[in-house]
C-alpha cells in the first residue's frame, strides 16, 4: 500500500509520494532495530522495538476498522510541575514556551496586533499538528512544492532565503548531494532535527541544530518543531506499545501494569504526558489480544474535535461554522492539521481577549492565548487494526511487576520547567 500525504493536504507527484513513503519506512527500519528495553539487565536482551503486531504499512486487502488514538494536546507536564495558572503563562510565552513545553503533538503561536491605544494585544491563535518530517521530505526533493505549501499556510510567498538560506539554483553537485544540501539547509532554516535520534542522524544533518534558526518557523508557524513532536518519535512510541506486555497470572498471561511497562521502556516523563500513554495503551491492547496495527492512510496527527462553544463573543457562543474558526491543511473534517482561531485583521477593533472563556466558573476569563484553545481541541492518530491471530507464548514480553517510578512532579523534566519558570518570574519582576 502507498501512503498519501498527511491529511491529503497536498497533491504530490508519484516520485514525491515514493520519497514520502520511503521516509516513513526509514523510521520504521531505524527504530525497529533499537533494543526494546531501556533498562540495565533487561528481562530479554534480544527484543527489539520491531513488533509483529505493528506493520510499517497495512496490507492492501485489510478490512479492519480504523481506530483513533486521541488526546487533549494541552501540555500536561507543566501543569503537574508548576500548576495550572503558571503552566498557562509559560506555555503562552512565545517561542520559548513552544520549544520547551508544547510536547503533545500540537504547537501554537499567538498573533498579536496593536489596538487603537497602541497596546499590543493577542489577535489570533494558530495551531499546527503538521509533522516536520513531511515538510523536510518535500523540501529535499521539490523546492517549488514546498514553497507552494508554505505560501498556502502563510498567505504570502516566502523567499528562498527564508526557506533555504540560499537560492536552490545555487546549490550544485550530483543530484544526491544537491538533495542532501537542500535537506540540510531547510532543516537549518525551518524544521530543526529534533532530539529523538540525534546520535543516529546522517552525516549531512549532524551540524543542524535541534531547533530551526530561520525566522519562518520561529516568528511564524509552519509545522511543529518541538524536539519530540516528530514522525520518528511517533513511530518509536507506537512500536514500544505494540508488544504483548504481560504479567504472569494463575490462568496464564494477563496484561501488564502500565507503570511496569513504562519503567522498562522510557523515563517517567512519558507517563506524565497525555499522548504517550495513549499510544502505549492502544498498542498493548491490540498486541495482547493478537490484533495487528498500522498507521492508517494518510498518516498524520489530526485535529479530530474542537469545542469552540465555550468561547463567547458579545455574549454569544462561537460554533464550528463561525468564520473565526478556520481549519486548513486537511481534506475534510477529521483530517485537518491547522487551526486559526480568532478575529481576522479586517476587524481592526476586535481582539482575542474580547472573547470570553465561559467554562462555568463564576468569573469567566478573557481568552489570552493558545493554552486555553488547546484545552478545547482533541487530536489523534488513526490506526488500522486487523486480526486477531493467536499470540505465541514466546511473544509475550514480561516487564516485571515493579511499579516504582518517579512521580511526575519530581521528574527531571520538571526541573527544567521550574528553571524556565524562574527565568520567567525574573523577567516579570526584575530583581533590584
Amino acid at each position: 500500500m502507498r501512503y498519501d500525504p498527511p491529511g491529503w493536504a497536498d497533491r504530490l507527484d508519484a516520485r514525491l509520494l515514493r520519497k514520502w513513503n520511503r521516509t516513513i519506512r526509514c523510521w520504521f527500519r531505524f527504530y525497529g532495530s533499537e533494543p526494546l528495553y531501556k533498562i540495565k539487565d533487561p528481562p530479554r536482551s534480544d527484543s527489539t522495538l520491531a513488533s509483529p503486531f505493528f506493520a510499517s504499512e497495512p496490507p492492501t486487502d485489510t478490512t479492519g476498522p480504523v481506530v483513533e488514538a486521541k488526546w487533549s494536546p494541552q501540555p500536561l507536564l507543566p501543569i503537574t510541575c508548576v500548576g495550572l495558572e503558571r503552566a498557562q503563562e509559560l506555555c503562552d510565552r512565545g517561542l520559548l514556551g513552544r520549544r520547551t513545553l508544547h510536547a503533545e503533538y500540537a504547537e501554537y503561536r499567538v498573533v498579536c496586533r496593536r489596538d487603537k491605544t497602541g497596546r499590543r494585544r493577542p489577535k489570533r491563535v494558530e495551531v499546527t499538528t503538521e509533522l516536520p518530517d513531511y515538510w523536510l521530505c518535500v523540501a529535499r526533493h521539490d523546492p517549488l512544492k514546498v514553497r507552494e505549501m508554505a505560501t498556502e499556510v502563510l498567505g504570502f510567498e516566502p523567499s528562498w532565503m527564508q526557506l533555504y538560506g540560499i537560492e536552490p539554483d545555487q546549490i550544485t553537485g550530483t543530484p544526491r548531494a544537491r538533495e542532501r544540501e537542500l535537506e540540510r539547509r531547510f532543516a537549518q532554516q525551518v524544521t530543526g532535527v529534533g532530539a529523538g535520534s540525534l546520535d543516529r542522524l546522517p552525516a549531512h544533518l549532524k551540524d543542524v541544530p535541534e531547533q530551526p534558526t530561520g525566522s519562518l518557523n520561529r516568528g511564524r508557524l509552519l509545522c511543529m518543531t518541538f524536539s519530540l513532536n516528530r514522525l520518528g518519535d511517533l513511530i518509536e512510541i507506537l512500536l514500544m506499545g505494540a508488544h504483548p506486555w504481560a504479567a504472569a497470572g494463575p490462568a496464564g498471561p494477563r496484561p501488564a501494569d502500565f507503570h511496569a511497562v513504562f519503567r522498562v521502556l522510557t523515563g517517567p516523563e512519558f507517563a506524565c504526558r497525555r499522548s504517550d500513554p495513549v499510544f502505549i495503551a492502544e498498542g498493548q491492547d491490540a498486541a495482547f489480544n493478537g490484533f495487528k496495527l498500522a498507521l492508517a492512510n494518510p498518516p498524520g496527527i489530526y485535529m479530530l474535535g474542537f469545542t469552540p462553544q465555550v468561547f463567547r463573543f458579545q455574549d454569544k457562543p462561537l460554533d464550528d461554522d463561525h468564520d473565526w474558526v478556520r481549519f486548513s491543511r486537511g481534506a475534510g473534517k477529521g483530517y485537518r492539521q491547522r487551526l486559526e482561531f480568532g478575529p481576522p485583521d479586517e476587524l481592526a477593533d476586535v481582539f482575542l481577549d474580547d472573547i470570553i472563556v465561559d467554562d462555568g466558573t463564576e468569573a469567566p476569563r478573557p481568552l489570552t492565548g493558545g493554552f486555553q484553545v488547546l484545552q478545547q481541541l482533541e487530536v489523534g492518530v488513526r490506526l488500522v487494526r486487523w486480526g486477531p491471530t493467536s499470540v505465541a507464548p514466546g511473544q509475550f514480553e514480561y516487564p516485571g511487576d515493579r511499579r516504582d517510578w518517579t512521580p511526575c512532579n519530581a521528574s527531571k523534566r520538571c526541573g527544567d520547567v521550574l528553571e524556565m519558570l524562574d527565568g520567567h518570574e525574573q523577567v516579570r519582576v526584575p530583581k533590584s
Binding site: P65, V66, V67, K70, W71, S72, L76, I79, T80, C81, V82, G83, L84, E85, R86, F258, A271, R274, S275, P277, V278, A281, E282, D285, L304, G305, F306, T307, Q309, V310, R312, P317, D320, D358, D359, G360, T361, E362, Q376, E378, R385, P407, C408, N409, A410
Partner: protein, 416 residues
Amino acid sequence: MGSLQEGIYHNCSNCTGPHFTVLLLRAVDGATAPRIGGLLGRLWSVYQNLKNGVVVDLPGQRVPSGELRVLVGYGRNVFTRPCVGRRAPPELLRYGFASPKAGSKDPVPIMPNSGIRYDEDVFDNPAEADIAVQFTARTQIAVHRPIVETWKCLRDLQQDPVERERAAAEQAPVVPLEMAGFFSGHQRDDRRSWIDFHDGVNNLRREERQAAISIKPNADAGWATGGTYMAFIRIAVNLTAWRALSRTEQEHIVGRDKLTGAPLVRDGQGKGRPAPGCPVSGTSDVLQGGNEPFREQRFPELLPDSHVQRANNHRRQAPEFRASSRIYRQGFEFLEPLDTAPFFRAGLNFVSFQDSPERLHTILTQDRWLGGRNFGGDPKPTRGGSWLLTARAAGMFLVPPVVKDERFPGHSILGY
C-alpha cells in the same frame, strides 16, 4: 500523603451500602473559615457517634448504625471565606458547574456546551454549597438519621446562650452554616436505571478505581494529594419523553440491547445490532458471568452517537491517565413525590469521583464526547421538544485526604 476518605467503593474494605444521602451546607453571611471549622468539627463528632450507634438524644442507648460511612467535600465557595487556611485548587475553580439564572429565557446548561440543562423551575442551585457531606449505609434510616441529627446540632447551637453571647461579642453569626438542602437515593438490585436499560455496566473495575480517582502529586494543591474530587448532579428523567421513543430509537441512543444489555455494534449499513456472541450461550444478560469481555465495549464498531460510546470515548486508555477521561461513577437512583400528576419525579443522583474535575468537564462539554448531547443521539431535545434529562442541582467538591492528626478531613482548609 493522605488516603482516600471512606464512602468510595474502591476496595473490599470500603464497600458502600445501597442507601445514600448528600447533605449540602452553606456558610451564612459573616461566617469565617475557623468558625465554620469549629462547627464542622462538632458535626463530625455527631457523625462519628452515629457510626457507633450513638444518638445525642438517647444517652446510654445504642441504635443500629447500618454501617454508615461519611465523606466530606468542599465546594469552591468555602475557599472565599475570611481566614481560610488553603488556597482553592485552580482546577476546582476552573472546572465547576455554571449557576442557573433566574429569569433566563432558556434553561441554562450545567456547563457551557453541556447538553444537560437545569430544570426550568431551578433558579437556585442547592449544590453550590460550601460543604457537602455524603452518607452511605446499608439501611435507609442510617442515611436519613444524620440529616435530622445535623438539624438538631445546628438548632441547639442557635439556642445556646453561651454561643449567642460569644457570637454577639464577635459580631459573628451564632451558627455559621445552614442546611441548603439534602438529596437521597438508593441503588437498584437489577442494575438498571429508570429508563429500563442496564446502567454502570462499563464502570471502572474495582482495582482500577483508586489510581483513577486519587489526586496525584501536583504543584497546585500538594496538600490535597491522595484526596479526590466529587461531582454531584441530581438528574431528573423525563419518562414521558423517553417512552415516546420506539425501542429501536432508545437502543440507538443508549447503544445497548434493551433486554440483554449487549452493546450494539455497527453492521454493514451503519445500523446497530447486538455484538455477536453477546450474551454468551447459557446466559441472558450482559451482567452474567462469561460476558465480561462485552462489558468494557472495546469494540471499534460501537455506534458513534450512542451514550456508551460518547461517555467513554477513549476506552482503551489506562484509567489512571488523565487522557482517558475515565471517572468512577457511584450513582444512586431516586424517586421523589410531587404534588401534581404524575405525583413523582424519577431520576439519578449522579455521583462521580476523579483525580481532576477536568475529566468530567471533558466528558460533559467536548464535542466528541457528550458535549451538546443531552444523553446520546442527536444534540436536540427528544420528540415533542422536551429534554430527556434535566438537572435539579449540580456541584463539584474537593474531597481532601484523611491525614493523620487532622480532626476531620479538610480541617486545614478551614484555617485552624
